[in-house]
Symmetry: C2
Subunit: 294 residues, 2 copies
């Protein structure tokens, strides 16, 4: 048995960055007190989801890595002796910014970072304005608890990303995310969107025979440009086992911490019965790195 | 609007091939009478699932394509003026056999075939003994109703197969399949397997923004080698829309025909809102045609 206690922090965010960080610290400590060894935060947890509008002033929210935020979370990881997955707005150079996940080990050291590779851009999610697509590729991060396939939000729709992580030995897939409903959509459409989001991430567990951890923000946030009625982030953070089975799921309205035990030794058992990696037709996969095969 | 009425035939099979074919004919006609323009049959629908044991005599069940079975189904397609997706045990040469889907157009002509690419082999599913892995690759089949991404059973676990079909313009994914429960598994395990099977196929709809049609056999079949207690094929044939939403689903115990209207024009709408194809990081997907990245 190789059990890992996972803590996930689903949070509602205010426009006071320091208050958000203090609240996150309190929640991480609470997870740790309940035995969590690995704690995962949602996407861009320090701030409101500023991508609802294109505003150059928002680049002031970005910081260097390492920088003040990594110092802050490093200290927490060290104090609590946990592996901690964070999601930050990275200032790499003047005019060059990334959406970057940073992972800390038990001793507070940065053991790896992942720059979001797939960048969305659709009404109310203007991320292509803010984030340069990652140039680090899909590389799992080695920690004291195992090898983590850390991806971010829009990456979750791409089976290619999950597969590349698994082929490099990732033992878990981790998605900090920020997704929600537009108020004008029908209830049926909202349900289809939520189900699609959960289904595609469960499917990465199934296809690769490894657990998936997805942490989403929650609560309503205003569109500062007032072009839309804002986003109701839908929570529903969850942990799935290596057959895609839901082990635990948070609610869709309120902040919530979840503590979930994941047995990493089950993955090999699942892969022995369903040996998908054995049968991949790599001799016929050569079109996958093309835009379209027309 | 581009609506297609799909008929799916979920069948229990006996050891009398002629009886099976007559029953399938009756069911196809029934679907057609209810307006179905596209009818999909389950995997290896003419016979029992003979792969439960490795027995060279079973190769007698294979036939040439074209051959008696394609003549039979061609005639039905022509009479009913439908597009028909069948699944046959192909004898390509002495000692060379495939698991092959054959598609007929309104006029009864064979418009394409697909040789199963991913071949499973696990206790009670000894397919590697019977089926040479396909060498036609992943090529969608053009029909009067649209471009069909026909895949077979074990292919359903591979996002790569679905993606390659979509990149070549497939407007629907179609999976004839034969999967069931081993009697010694717990109820929890059975449910995990069924959900994983449904989830991974729904995810192909989500990832590619196109509908998925999956037709499974149903009912218990004996293991002729008596090594196991046989397979309870779990039915649950279904049709999902381009967000992975279930449009219709058959029961898990009995033969059943389903008639489902699929609106192909919805796919473009879904892809406009969730433009996943736009953002694929093809500049970093080059490891996908490797066995493992170690």
């Amino acid at each position: 048995m190789r059990k890992v206690k996972v803590g996930i922090v689903q949070q509602q965010i205010s426009n006071d960055v320091q208050e958000n960080m203090n609240l996150l610290k309190k929640n991480i400590e609470q997870c740790s007190a309940q035995g969590a060894e690995l704690v995962v935060l949602q996407e861009l947890h320090n701030t409101l989801y500023f991508c609802q509008a294109e505003n150059p002033t928002n680049f002031d929210l970005a910081e260097r890595i390492p920088g003040p935020s990594t110092d802050f979370y490093s200290q927490i990881a060290k104090e609590q002796k946990i592996v901690l997955v964070t999601s930050l707005f990275e200032k790499r150079a003047e005019g060059l910014y990334h959406n970057t996940a940073v992972v800390f080990d038990f001793d507070g050291t940065i053991v790896g970072k992942y720059r979001k590779m797939h960048i969305p851009d659709d009404p109310a999610y203007y991320e292509k304005f803010y984030f340069t697509p990652g140039d680090l590729g899909f590389s799992p991060i080695k920690t004291s608890l195992g090898v983590l396939g850390v991806l971010v939000c829009w990456d979750q729709w791409y089976p290619e990303a999950a597969r590349l992580m698994a082929l490099q030995g990732a033992e878990m897939l981790i998605y900090p995310t920020a997704i929600g409903w537009e108020s004008s959509d029908t209830e049926e459409e909202k349900l289809r969107q939520l189900n699609a989001w959960q289904t595609i991430q469960q499917s990465h567990a199934v296809a690769n025979g490894i657990p998936v951890i997805s942490v989403n923000r929650v609560g309503w946030e205003e569109d500062s440009s007032h072009q839309t009625a804002g986003i109701q982030f839908w929570g529903n953070s969850f942990v799935a086992g290596p057959q895609g089975e839901i082990l635990a799921k948070a609610n869709n309205k309120e902040p919530e911490n979840l503590i979930v035990e994941v047995d990493l030794s089950r993955s090999e058992q699942v892969r022995r019965w369903w040996p998908f990696l054995r049968d991949r037709r790599i001799d016929f996969y050569n079109g996958l790195d093309k835009r379209f095969l027309d």
